[in-house]
């Protein structure tokens, strides 16, 4: 760097190395330059400072206050779609959570009321249609057996039995029962799962009784035209 430029940095105290500075000043030309620069700098250092008008500061502060408030609104506008998405997702999760909590509360609240494992009724097993060898007693066949659960069930069972009795006493029921017994007696020779038998092979009496109104197909054919 040029020495005359270098002493400028020393003049403004931007360089700390004083030994180099003293070496530079030993040259007359550089020393004279330093003196001239110092005089100009001295006048500039004592120049009065200027400030902007106070009203300008007030206007800037008003703008700063307005900007300090608007970015929040502006950022909300800008972030609104993403915010809405997050909120809807959050609302969904909150709803699901509340529903699960409600179910849990109801379950815990009902736990003392619900019957325990010993008191719970036996699972209902559907009867599978299969040939039975033992025929139940007619009196028990139509009885509804209520689950035996304490004193309460005893009363229920007694009332159900009374209902069953009154139901059995109806005359039309008796009539249906007699018809069923009659049909069973007539079809005693038939068994389940027998191979299909043509209608003509059935005995005439049984055929008429079993399929009243049915006639062999050939009897229903219209006469052939010659």
């Amino acid at each position: 760097m040029d020495k005359k430029l270098q002493i400028l940095q020393y003049l403004y105290e931007e360089v700390e190395d004083r030994s180099t500075f003293r070496t530079l000043l030993e040259e007359d030309a550089v020393g004279a330059e330093y003196q001239a620069l110092s005089e100009a700098k001295f006048q500039l250092d004592h120049q009065r400072r200027s400030r902007p008008d106070p009203i300008v500061i007030d206007r800037i502060m008003a703008a700063a206050a307005a900007e300090g408030n608007t970015p929040i609104t502006r950022s909300r506008w800008r972030d609104r779609p993403a915010l809405a998405g997050r909120l809807s997702r959050r609302n969904t999760l909150r709803t699901v959570g509340l529903a699960m909590a409600a179910v849990l509360v109801v379950a815990v609240g009902l736990w003392p009321i619900l019957p325990t494992a010993e008191q719970a009724p036996a699972p209902v097993v559907a009867d599978v249609a299969r040939p039975s060898t033992a025929k139940p007693a007619p009196a028990q066949e139509h009885l509804f057996t209520a689950p035996a659960t304490g004193l309460q069930q005893a009363g229920v069972r007694s009332s159900l039995a009374e209902d069953a009795l009154s139901w059995d006493e109806a005359s039309d029921v008796h009539e249906v029962h007699r018809r069923v017994e009659m049909l069973q007696a007539r079809n005693s020779s038939l068994e389940w799962d027998e191979p299909a038998v043509p209608l003509e092979m059935l005995p005439a009496q049984g055929r008429q009784l079993l399929q009243p109104g049915l006639r062999p197909a050939r009897q229903q054919r219209p006469p052939r035209n010659p």
Binding site: L5, L8, Q47, R51, A64, A65, P71
Partner: protein, 202 residues
Amino acid sequence: MHPTDEELVAAYLERSDQVAFRTLIERHQERIFGYLLGMVRDRDIANDLFQETFLRVIAAMQKRRGSYIQQGRWLGWVLRIARNATLDYLRSRKKWQDVTPGADDDGASFWDRLSDDAPGADEELDRLDRADRLTACIGRLSPEQREVLLLRHEAEMTFREIAELTDCSINTALGRMRYALLNLRKMMETAQKKDPTRVVNT
């Protein structure tokens, strides 16, 4: 203990602390306004540019226009905005010509290469008192020299910062400053010779 510029900036940005922002402006108003006034030499225009500068600063700090990255150099960042606003104005008035500094640029300008015996050039200075005379002398410097001088004395930037701001080498910045001081001293001496009753060096 006074808060740093960055602490005040953070207070304004994070808490909309208006007092912090006012403190920032009042702390640096003389540096920025002194530079603006020296560049345009008109107080009303300097006020307008000062306001325009800080409106740009506020917009940038709120990320509405440009951006501000907190890196401990808030004043330098504001001065860059002030300089851009000033150059926009000077270009509009055709009082600024962009010069690409060359490798051999020693900071001298057209004015430095004029002959030294310009008669009557300092007559205007005779009518002014010392402070105004100094201001008038600064105004007569070339724009490049005047800018470096104002950035160093008014804005109190280092030569390295000035070189970075004005996009030139540090040697160019130092050379412009050297010519500015020498020319200033020469003008003041000429004025004093014409009016020996005025005391320049007080």
